[in-house]
C-alpha cells in the first residue's frame, strides 16, 4: 500500500456532526459529485497531513446499514467495494447508544476503523461520562475525542488516522446465539465462488441473507450460481420462523442492540434518563400548538423575501454589467455574425446563467441556517400533515413555496429531502408553482383582455390553478408512476444550536459552483441555440425592400419640407430663421413630454385622450397666431410622419425577419398543433422562445406584433394584442394557462437534470408538462367556446 495517499471514509448517524468534522478536515478543498447511477451525493475533500495525502469521502448520514434506503446501500458498498484505507465513524457522544448501533454494523464489514467521540462537550453537560479507553478495548479500534464545532481534536484524529492505516482490519464479532450461528455455518457450506466474488465478508453475506437483504439478494440473483445459496437462505429463514416464532431480521437487530447495550452499560455512566434541555424550551415556543404555524409562516415570508427581494438587487446589477459589457464588445468588434453571436447569444446566455447566482447564494445561506440550527426538522414537523395529504413529505413544503419565486433554486432546495421518491415528485411538481418570470406575461395578457376589476381575479385563478394541478399531479405520480413503500416518517429533531458561519459559507459556495458548472453550461448552450433559431437565417428574402422604403421616407420628408416650408419662407434650412427653429424645438419638447406621459397608457383610455388633447392645445399655443407658427406646426407634422414611417418599417422588418427565422418557420409548421387551443403561429413562436426563459415571451410577442421595444412601452403591445382578430379574453386565458403549465424553462430543466442525475427525468419534466398543458388548454378553449365565451 502506498502510505502517502490515504483514502478515508467518513461515516456516522445524521446530525452527529460529521459534516462539520469533514469541513474542518478539508477546508475548502472539496469536490461534490454523485455516486454512480444514484442521486445520492458524493462529497470528497482533500488534506495534506505530515507527508500524507488524504482523500476524505463524506458518506451519507445513516442510522443503520440495511438495504431499505439507497444511502445505506451506498455507504456499505463504498466501505466494502471501494476499499477505503480506513473508515472513520463519527459518534454523537450524547446519543452514544444509538450511534454505537451503527458502529457495530460498520465493524462487521471488517475494515480498519477509527471512532470519533464527537460533541464531547454536550455529553459532558448532560452528565454522560464515557470511559473511552475501555470502549476502545471492548470493540478493538482506536478512539479519538473531539468537539467538531470548536475544531478541537482534529490533529488527534489526523494522527490516529495516519497511524491506524497499516493496522489490521477490525476483528469485532457478535455472537448471535446458536439459532443464527448454526445457520451461518450452514450458509457457508452453500457458498461458491460466485458468492465470494461479490467482495463482501463471508460472515456478513450470511447475516444479510438471513436478514433477507434486498441488495444482496439482488446481487446473487444476477450471478450465475447464486440461486442455490438463495434457496438455502430462504429455507433457513423459514425454519427460523417456525422454530422461534419471529423473523430472523428482527432477531439479529435485537441481538445487536443487546450487545451494544451491554458495551454501553460497561463503558458509559449516564445522568437522568430523560432530560429537559434548552432545546426543548425553544421548541415549546417554535412548535407551539397555536404559535407554531404563524411563526413558521413568518419565517417563510422572511426567507422568501430575503431570497427574491434582496436577491433581485445584485441580479439587476449583473444584468446591467453584462449589458455594458455587450455595448463595449459591440464597439470593439466589426459588425457581423460573430458580433451578434457574442453580444446577443453568448452574453445574453451568460446573463441568464449568472442572474440566478445571487438568489442561489442567498437561498442556500437561508437553507444552511435553517438546517444547521435544527429548524428544518421542525418545519417538516409542522407542515407534514398538509403535505402528507398530497402524498409528499413535510420537507417538501419549502421547495414548493420557493417555486413561486423561481423553480431553479426551489429544485436545488429539494436536497433537504432524503427520500429519493419524495424528492423526485417534489421536483416534478415544483414548476407548477407559478414563478415570478411568468408574472409579466400574465399581467400583460390580463391588462390587455380583462377589465381592471377582473384582472386581479383572473391572475389569482391562474396561481390557484397551478397549486391545484401540483397537488393532483403529485398524487397521480405517487399512485401510478413512483409507487412503492411510503417512506416512514420517523425523523430526528436535532437539538437547536447556532449555525457555524464556516459551514454556511462552504454550503453556499459548493451549491453555487455546482449550479454554474453543471447547470450553467446546459443553460448557456440552449440559450444560444434558441437565440440562433430566432435570429437566423440573417439573409432573409424580405417581401419589400425596407432600406429603400426608409430612404424613400427620408426623400419624401426632404422634398415636402422644402416645398411646403423652405420655398415659401425663402430659406434653405431651419436655422436660417432662428425664431422658427426655436418654436420647432419647443414643439419637439412638448411631443417628447407627451411620449413619456403616455408610455404606459393604452390608446383607448380616457387618460390617453386627455393627454393627447393637452398636447394639441400646447402645440397650438406654442405656434401662436403668427404665420411662422403655422410653418413650425407643418415642420413638426412632417417629421412626425417620417418618424412614424421609419418605426413602422423597422418593426415590420423585425416582424418579417422573425417570421422567416427558423423559429418562425417552425411556428408556422406547428400552427395546426395549437389551432385547437385557439392560438396561432405567433403564439407558437413566443412559446418556443419562452423556453429559454418565460419572461422572453413578452419581448417575442412584441417583435412579432411589430411594436418595438416593450421595455419602453407595454401599452402598445396590449393594444396590438387586443386588436388581433384571433385573440379574445378566452384565448388570452387559455394562453396564460398554457404558459403556466407547459415545459419549464431551460434553466429549470438543466437543474432537474443535475439534481436527478438523469436526462430521462429532465426530458420527462419537459414533455409531460407540455402534454398536460395542451390537454388542459384544449378543454378550456373548446369548453369556453361551447359556453359561447
Amino acid at each position: 500500500m502506498n502510505k502517502n495517499s490515504i483514502t478515508v471514509a467518513l461515516a456516522g448517524n445524521p446530525n452527529c456532526g460529521k459534516t462539520t468534522i469533514f469541513n474542518h478536515l478539508t477546508g475548502s478543498k472539496q469536490h461534490v459529485g454523485n455516486y454512480a447511477g444514484v442521486t445520492v451525493e458524493k462529497k470528497a475533500g482533500f488534506r495534506r497531513f505530515r507527508e500524507h495525502d488524504l482523500t476524505i469521502v463524506d458518506l451519507p448520514g445513516t442510522y443503520s446499514l440495511t438495504a431499505y434506503s439507497i444511502e445505506e446501500v451506498v455507504t456499505r458498498n463504498f466501505i466494502v467495494l471501494d476499499q477505503p484505507d480506513i473508515v472513520v465513524d463519527v459518534l454523537d457522544s450524547a446519543n452514544l447508544e444509538r450511534n454505537l448501533y451503527l458502529a457495530v454494523q460498520i465493524l462487521e464489514l471488517q475494515r480498519p476503523m477509527v471512532l470519533v467521540l464527537n460533541m464531547a462537550d454536550v455529553a459532558k453537560k448532560q452528565g454522560v461520562v464515557i470511559n473511552a479507553k475501555r470502549l476502545s478495548q471492548r470493540i478493538g479500534v482506536p478512539i479519538v475525542t473531539a468537539v467538531g464545532n470548536k475544531a478541537s481534536g482534529m490533529d488527534d484524529l489526523l494522527t490516529t488516522i495516519v497511524q491506524s492505516v497499516d493496522k489490521q482490519a477490525a476483528s469485532f464479532q457478535i455472537d448471535y446465539g446458536q439459532q443464527i450461528e448454526q445457520r451461518i455455518v450452514r450458509l457457508f457450506q452453500s457458498f461458491n465462488s460466485a458468492v465470494l466474488s461479490l467482495g463482501f465478508p463471508k460472515r456478513w453475506i450470511a447475516l444479510k441473507l438471513l436478514e433477507n437483504d434486498k441488495d444482496i439478494v439482488q446481487r446473487l440473483l444476477e450471478h450465475d450460481g447464486g440461486q442455490a445459496t438463495l434457496a438455502v437462505a430462504t429455507e433457513l429463514r423459514e425454519t427460523f420462523c417456525e422454530q422461534t416464532g419471529g423473523d430472523a431480521a428482527t432477531f439479529i437487530a435485537t441481538k445487536r442492540y443487546e450487545v451494544v447495550g451491554k458495551i454501553y452499560g460497561d463503558c458509559v455512566l449516564t445522568g437522568p434518563t430523560i432530560l429537559r434541555t434548552t432545546s426543548d424550551k425553544i421548541d415549546a415556543l417554535l412548535t407551539h400548538r397555536l404559535l407554531g404555524i404563524p411563526l413558521f409562516l413568518g419565517m417563510m415570508w422572511f426567507v422568501f423575501n430575503l431570497v427574491f427581494t434582496i436577491g433581485a438587487v445584485p441580479q439587476k446589477a449583473i444584468q446591467k454589467g453584462l449589458s455594458f459589457l455587450g455595448q463595449w464588445v459591440g464597439m470593439a468588434l466589426p459588425d457581423g455574425g460573430v458580433k451578434n453571436l457574442l453580444i446577443d447569444g453568448v452574453i445574453g446566455g451568460v446573463g441568464s446563467v449568472l442572474s440566478f447566482v445571487p438568489i442561489i447564494l442567498l437561498l442556500f445561506a437561508a437553507i444552511a441556517v435553517l438546517e444547521d440550527s435544527g429548524y428544518m426538522a421542525r418545519a417538516a414537523f409542522i407542515m407534514d400533515r398538509v403535505m402528507y395529504k398530497v402524498g409528499l413529505h413535510g420537507k417538501s413544503f419549502i421547495p414548493l413555496l420557493l417555486g413561486f419565486g423561481c423553480s431553479v433554486p426551489a429544485i436545488m432546495g429539494t436536497r433537504t429531502l432524503e427520500n429519493p421518491r419524495d424528492r423526485l415528485v417534489t421536483i416534478l411538481v415544483t414548476p407548477f408553482m407559478s414563478c415570478s418570470a411568468r408574472l409579466p406575461v400574465y399581467t400583460l395578457l390580463c391588462a390587455a383582455f380583462f377589465s381592471e376589476n377582473m384582472a386581479g381575479t383572473v391572475l389569482f385563478s391562474v396561481y390557484i390553478f397551478g397549486i391545484l394541478l401540483a397537488i393532483l399531479v403529485a398524487r397521480f405520480l405517487r399512485t401510478f408512476l413512483l409507487t412503492g413503500d411510503t417512506e416512514p416518517f420517523v425523523m430526528e429533531m436535532p437539538p437547536y444550536h447556532w449555525p457555524s458561519p464556516t459551514s454556511i459559507l462552504i454550503h453556499m459556495w459548493e451549491r453555487t459552483v455546482l449550479y454554474v458548472k453543471k447547470a450553467g453550461t446546459i443553460i448557456l448552450a440552449v440559450s444560444v441555440l434558441i437565440w440562433f433559431l430566432t435570429n437566423y437565417p440573417t439573409h432573409v428574402e424580405f417581401s419589400r425592400d425596407y432600406d429603400a422604403l426608409t430612404a424613400q421616407a427620408d426623400a419624401d420628408y426632404t422634398e415636402h419640407i422644402a416645398q411646403q416650408v423652405y420655398v415659401p419662407l425663402t430659406i434653405t434650412a431651419l436655422d436660417d430663421r432662428p425664431e422658427l427653429a426655436e418654436t420647432v424645438q419647443r414643439m419637439h419638447d412638448i411631443e417628447e413630454n407627451f411620449d413619456v406621459q403616455v408610455a404606459d397608457v393604452r390608446k383607448n383610455t380616457r387618460t390617453y385622450k386627455n393627454a393627447a388633447e393637452n398636447k394639441e392645445t400646447a402645440l397650438f399655443s406654442a405656434a401662436g397666431s403668427t404665420e411662422l407658427g403655422k410653418y413650425a406646426l407643418r415642420v413638426i407634422q412632417l417629421s412626425d410622419e417620417r418618424d412614424d414611417a421609419h418605426r413602422v418599417l423597422l418593426q415590420q422588418k423585425a416582424h418579417e425577419k422573425l417570421e422567416k427565422s427558423y423559429a418562425g418557420q417552425a411556428g408556422k409548421v406547428l400552427e395546426p398543433l395549437v389551432t385547437p387551443l385557439g392560438l396561432n403561429w405567433k403564439h407558437a413562436v413566443s412559446l418556443f422562445a419562452g423556453f429559454s426563459a418565460k419572461e422572453v415571451i413578452v419581448s417575442t410577442l412584441a417583435t412579432i406584433y411589430s411594436v418595438g421595444d416593450v421595455e419602453k412601452s407595454s401599452s402598445q403591445l396590449m393594444d396590438a394584442l387586443a386588436a388581433d382578430p384571433d385573440m379574445s379574453p378566452l384565448v388570452a386565458y387559455t394562453l396564460m394557462i398554457f404558459i403556466l403549465i407547459y415545459s419549464p424553462c431551460v434553466a429549470t430543466i438543466a437543474v432537474i437534470r443535475r439534481e436527478t442525475n438523469s436526462w430521462k427525468w429532465a426530458l420527462f419534466a419537459s414533455c409531460y408538462t407540455t402534454t398536460i398543458a395542451w390537454c388542459i388548454a384544449f378543454i378550456i378553449y373548446q369548453g369556453g367556446r361551447i359556453f359561447g365565451l
Partner: protein, 84 residues
C-alpha cells in the same frame, strides 16, 4: 397493560414493549434507536394534530401517528405524577 404509543398524551411516559410488524417502518423505528425497553415521553402533537414528537433518552423524534401505532408501550407513571 399494553397500549399503543399513538394513544399516549403529551407528558405521558411509556416503556416500549414490542415493535409490531417487520416492514421498513418497524426497521426504521428500530434503527433510529427505539427498542423494547426504551423509555419514551410524549412531548407534543404538531399544531395540525399529526405527527407527534417524543423524547427517547436524550434525543427527540417526530413520527406520524401511523408509525407510532407500530410501537406497543406500557404506561409508566410520570415522575411529576408522584407526590414528592
Amino acid at each position: 397493560m399494553a397500549t399503543l404509543l399513538s394513544d399516549l398524551l403529551p407528558g405521558q411516559i411509556g416503556r416500549v414493549v414490542k415493535i409490531c410488524g417487520k416492514g421498513p417502518i418497524a426497521r426504521r423505528i428500530f434503527d433510529i434507536g427505539i427498542v423494547p425497553g426504551s423509555l419514551l415521553e410524549v412531548q407534543k402533537f404538531a399544531p395540525l394534530g399529526d405527527p407527534m414528537e417524543i423524547k427517547v433518552k436524550s434525543f427527540n423524534l417526530s413520527l406520524r401517528k401511523n408509525e407510532a401505532s407500530f410501537i406497543q408501550v406500557e404506561r409508566i407513571a410520570a415522575e411529576t405524577d408522584c407526590p414528592a
